[in-house]
């Protein structure tokens, strides 16, 4: 069985997630090759072949061009699986490959099960097993679901030259992350507000608990999108990655993108009225309660 790993490269650098794909491929028992649209210096450390196309000529991410380059590598390698990260790069590119080859695609894989691939669904509350019915398939792997492999080995580098047409979507560059109002990465205690707190007026109640605990206020995405708190307080894949000694999640369901940002916390307390909420998976203590009743009571007890 052969796997072609599609490396992820942004702003001149190979992303760490590429090494997670290697672990996944190893667990499948697949022989690995990779395709990098980047530069020679960023070629991943691994054995086997790495197909290299220069990003300078292909654009860091132009979907039409990247599709053609990866298809060219697929043509050479003839892999059983084409594997990408389930990231802004992967979920944009993967369906283009699947459509071009008319093959099955499984997204957001979190595990390998007896008869296929395991993917999260229903906001991470449930799982599905999905089995491609085509001999070749495109897979995207959830970031963090598989530990990154140790970089080792030296691949044979084979160049792919493509002068592809760049019509359709034109990539115009990057906009850097906004300036931070707070640096949550340094906080020892973070108390996060999720949508379960109900309304903006309740933010001060959560902020008060954060203050009493000597920590910072954090938030899940819907709370930020609704404008209840500043974006710099968002925890998760598209917010900040944090690793406090104590993380208190108030009315946060525990969607995979939120967990990805906080699962390195030493000790996690979750307050949720739903005993089955996925946040329970990572919580050291799950308090099954109405957050707006429990939090003021906890704050008061700590003030004593």
């Amino acid at each position: 069985m052969k796997a072609l790993l599609v490396c992820e490269y942004r702003e001149g650098q190979l992303l760490e997630t590429t090494y997670e794909l290697m672990t996944f491929a190893d667990q499948l028992g697949a022989e690995k090759a990779a395709i990098l649209i980047g530069d020679e210096e960023s070629v991943p450390q691994m054995d086997g072949t790495v197909y290299l196309a220069e990003a300078a000529g292909c654009g860091e991410y132009n979907p039409a061009v990247h599709k053609q380059v990866v298809l060219a590598a697929i043509e050479k390698e003839k892999p059983d699986y084409i594997i990408l990260s389930h990231s802004s790069y992967g979920w944009d590119l993967a369906p283009r490959l699947a459509a071009a080859l008319k093959i099955g695609q499984v997204t957001e894989i979190v595990g390998i099960v007896e008869d296929g691939f395991e993917a999260g669904c229903c906001n991470a509350k449930m799982r599905r097993a999905v089995t491609p019915s085509t001999s070749q398939a495109v897979l995207t792997v959830q970031a963090g679901a598989f530990a990154a492999a140790t970089p080792q080995g030296a691949p044979a580098v084979e160049r792919i030259d493509i002068s592809a047409d760049t019509q359709g979507v034109v990539f115009k560059g990057y906009e850097p992350a906004e300036k931070k109002e707070v640096d949550l990465a340094r906080a020892e205690v973070i108390v996060s507000a999720g949508r379960g707190i109900g309304k903006k007026d309740n933010i001060p109640v959560i902020a008060e608990l954060a203050k009493v605990m000597g920590g910072e206020l954090g938030a899940s995405r819907p709370v930020v999108d609704a404008g209840w708190v500043d974006h710099s307080r968002q925890v998760g894949t598209t917010g900040q990655t944090v690793a406090p000694k104590l993380y208190v999640a108030c009315g946060v369901s525990g969607a995979i993108q939120h967990l990805a940002g906080m699962k390195k916390s030493d000790f996690v307390v979750a307050i949720n009225k739903d005993k089955d909420a996925p946040i329970g998976e990572v919580a050291d203590v799950l308090v099954v309660a109405d957050v707006m009743q429990f939090v003021p009571a906890l704050t008061e007890a700590l003030q004593k």
Binding site: R10, D115, V130, Q167, G168, Y174, E175, V189, P222
Partner: protein, 258 residues
């Protein structure tokens, strides 16, 4: 200009999910249904574009599923859609993204839509495939995960959300498809007059069989609850008891509150 928005109806995510008898998807009884959150942003963006262009564009909303999905279509009409298409399919939940996309593209194929909006993913299945597949099948440009959208003179300027707060700036020429991410805009609540008006807007029904010619390429074989990690403490019951226990645990197990 012709606009199409593809929407899905999904259960409230706070529901308790149980596998259905066939073990392939959830049991639908006792679930409350709503429009997929990501699709609300898609509908809103299309309506805003229509307003920007002086109501000239015609906005069609489309949904595949059993009769209940008409409720989601009505909401989209009340938000500002002009007409709806219901692809009647009682077995939509068993179709894979490839089949769903092929039905949409087959419908859209000869209608000449200039711009198609979808959510970046559904909340229940989360495959994030359908939008791009539709675009590829129709051979039009597409961009995913938009958190910013601007249109002028046949050109879309968008911002794609990447990881860690970084955004990718993209430009697309019409015809195109974009998938919408949370936070793209603020979806409006339909007003009562608009809900009343929506009742008179046309809803066309098409049988799924008329559009489906593709088999599944990646079918689901099982639906189940994740294995629960043992270990975490669960506190339940009376409020002051739980507070007291938690304070005790925090003092004992963390250095923070000592």
């Amino acid at each position: 200009m012709k606009l199409l928005v593809c929407i899905k109806q999904v259960p409230d995510m706070e529901s308790r999910f149980r596998p259905a008898a066939d073990g392939l998807w959830f049991d639908e009884s006792d679930l409350a249904w709503r429009m997929n959150e990501y699709d609300e942003y898609a509908v809103e963006q299309a309506v805003q574009l229509k307003e920007q262009l002086g109501k000239e564009p015609e906005l069609t909303v489309l949904s595949i599923g059993p009769d209940r999905v008409v409720e989601a279509l009505k909401k989209a009409l009340a938000m500002g859609g002009d007409r709806a298409v219901h692809i009647q399919d009682n077995a939509a939940h068993l179709k894979d993204p490839w089949q769903i996309a092929s039905m949409i593209s087959r419908y859209a194929g000869d209608k000449g839509f200039d711009l198609i909006f979808t959510g970046m993913q559904s909340q229940d299945r989360g495959s994030a495939q359908v939008g791009v597949l539709v675009a590829e099948m129709l051979r039009i440009a597409s961009a995913t995960t938009l958190v910013d959208f601007n249109y002028a003179d046949g050109l879309i300027q968008g911002k794609r959300e990447l990881e860690g707060g970084v955004k990718g700036l993209v430009e697309l020429q019409l015809p195109a498809l974009v998938t919408c991410q949370l936070g793209l805009n603020t979806p409006r609540y339909p007003t009562l007059p608009n809900i009343m008006k929506a009742k008179r807007k046309p809803i066309e029904t098409i049988a799924a069989d008329e559009l489906l010619s593709e088999g599944a390429l990646a079918p689901a074989t099982k639906f189940y609850a994740p294995e629960r990690k043992a270990g975490g403490m669960v506190l339940e019951g009376d409020l002051s008891g739980m507070v007291e226990k938690l304070v005790g645990v925090l003092k004992e197990k963390t250095a923070v509150l000592r």
